[in-house]
Subunit: 214 residues, 4 copies
């Protein structure tokens, strides 16, 4: 997989030329506002080639999402692994994620806000990426807090998903819409929230029975 986010040569193979052209046009003027003709003209390939590699206009978007999300996740995981202090892994990952979103704000906007509702295939790709992100969060935070194993795995997974939603929502509001620059502070805050959430979960893990409340 050739990087769409971090490499900036021009691609040789038509498929990547198309993905690159699509990335620029979709982030520039939006997916719906971009016609297939514009994509193939920018990529300097023919419509025949386009339909050889992609089943439809939306398929291009799906593959583009797949590439981008994979890249982002890989980069986040790589960064966390580089962090030697075990208590800082989740922070490092979250921070890197915010950084990428901040550095490629149009791409983040495309992935997070201007994307859904286009096809179930796109939703599925996003869904899978969220699941993987949640797994990363789950695994990073788990090693940071003392877990007595009393919290069910299912609850922890749900909490991890919730944190993914929390992070993305903050990215949308703070980074994309409000254009906040202090990534470190946001990452710190989100990491705190995550740790707080998991900690609270561990402490109160037995307080819920059936319809009872805390």
């Amino acid at each position: 997989m050739i990087s769409l986010l971090f490499h900036h040569q021009s691609y040789k193979d038509p498929q990547n030329k198309l993905l690159d052209a699509a990335l620029h046009l979709y982030t520039g003027k939006g997916f719906r506002e971009t016609s297939v003709l514009e994509v193939v003209e920018r990529a300097r390939v023919s419509k025949t080639t386009f339909y050889h590699f992609f089943n439809s206009k939306e398929d291009l978007l799906v593959q583009l999402f797949q590439s981008l999300l994979e890249e982002v996740l890989q980069e986040v995981r790589r960064t966390a692994e580089l962090e030697t202090h075990i208590a800082h892994k989740s922070f490092a990952g979250i921070r890197r994620y915010l950084e990428i979103c901040n550095d490629h704000r149009p791409v983040a906007r495309l992935l997070l806000v201007s994307s859904a509702g286009l096809s179930s295939a796109v939703e599925e790709v996003r869904h899978k990426a969220h699941v993987e992100f949640a797994i990363f969060i789950y695994e990073s935070v788990r090693v940071e807090i003392e877990q007595e194993g009393l919290v069910s795995d299912d609850q922890i997974h749900t909490a991890a998903q919730a944190m993914v939603g929390a992070i993305n929502e903050v990215v949308i509001h703070k980074i994309i819409v409000e254009n906040k620059k202090n990534i470190d502070e946001l990452a710190h805050l989100l990491n705190h929230i995550a740790i707080g959430a998991f900690t609270m979960l561990a402490e109160n893990q037995m307080s819920f029975k059936g319809g009872m409340r805390l």
Copy 2:
């Protein structure tokens, strides 16, 4: 404002007939897959009338979203107000929100996953609703935890936004996709997460200075 979610008579005025028809078709076969022709045929009004009330196909979606989101928020706030025990208000609101999403799963799907990316106007409506939801969370949780006033308002707002994202992400994965039925448990979990997040925030409010980490 006439309720689109909870009333089920047939409307008299063409605007509501169109909104109702759109709700059914968009939740049934999707926004993009529904043509204006189908909407006006189901609503039994003319295309001219459609374009009299709505500037475009997307404008109909925007107004539909506005109505639905207002309704949901109002219902959530109303339910929280009915809860007399002050420590249970946030739980009551979250629980009601999950309940509505569960009872109207196609609508929830429309609002949460199959909607964005259609126009900036839709995004804006969703954004505003999220902000209002965050305010509700913020106000509900604030009265439940002992706040020494040491946490900045901005941080609490961000945390509230994060919680909105957390809740919606869980709704998408657990209620919409996985079709989980135990609303109470999910609400309990999410409420815990929220309280945990806010508590951790209060405890560590001073631990972050510049680029430092927890």
Copy 3:
């Protein structure tokens, strides 16, 4: 019948207000380019009133044509009657006709070129007017040339019709399109042509038998 061409007060009765408004708008921007709304707004009456007096937008045009063509024919006949010299009657009529077309060029354009093809009713009105004009020509010229009665009435009628076409064609090309001003010269020419045609007809009335030629 109130004159639309030569009177210039504002009308009291809605029907004439509508006809007058239509005349101005149709000659100004064309029949097809004028909407019913514009007509009723200019006439300061309601759509209800419009459809009380006229069955349709085209019906208004038909009645307008009827009025205008009647007026023009009446004026042409009146002028010919005022001419005492019997040999000048046809010239006087033709001259007056050209004069009216020249003085009201937009109206002439409407009647002669921008009108047909709209409905069979319009065509019929025009057809009748042409027939009446032909009768005038026929009667005027008949008294001017010595007729031995050898020419069939049918032939003379046809020749008269031909002269109507000849006159109108010249009006279109010379007065409307080329904007020629020397009405007298044109009238003289056309009158000559008419007399020449009828004379030739009389001289050669027996030369045609079956498929033979002159």
Copy 4:
């Protein structure tokens, strides 16, 4: 230019398929009563193709007129050229014209009565055809009568135009409306009228000075 009037295969290229379909529909139920949808359905092409070849519904009519009028004029000129007797050329042309109008009465109706008033472009095409027809008349008749060159060219042109109007008017009344069959007699009559008109013109060419009358 492929003949629309005299050929009767089905066309290959969409443009001619559309022109042919339009010819049938416009002559059958009228231009205004025919929708673009009907035209493309009859021609078995798509609306996109329609708007690729024609700018508008009216543009199709304009191009159709152009083709038809060119065809008719060409046929008339060709017939006159085949006539060896120089004194019969104008008769031959006029006769052929009447014959075509008689053989294709719906087309003649379309061209002569149900056409104008639709757009200035249509009027222009008709105007040009009339001018060309007038030139044909002028040239044909000029060689038949002894011209001393005393009549101004402008007058002869005007007379020729008048004859075009005369012929068309007779076609409308006698052939199209009254459905007369004796083409030969009508042609003979019209030719006589034309010759009479031109002769009279030549005889009296100096009798008009300024505002004087014959």
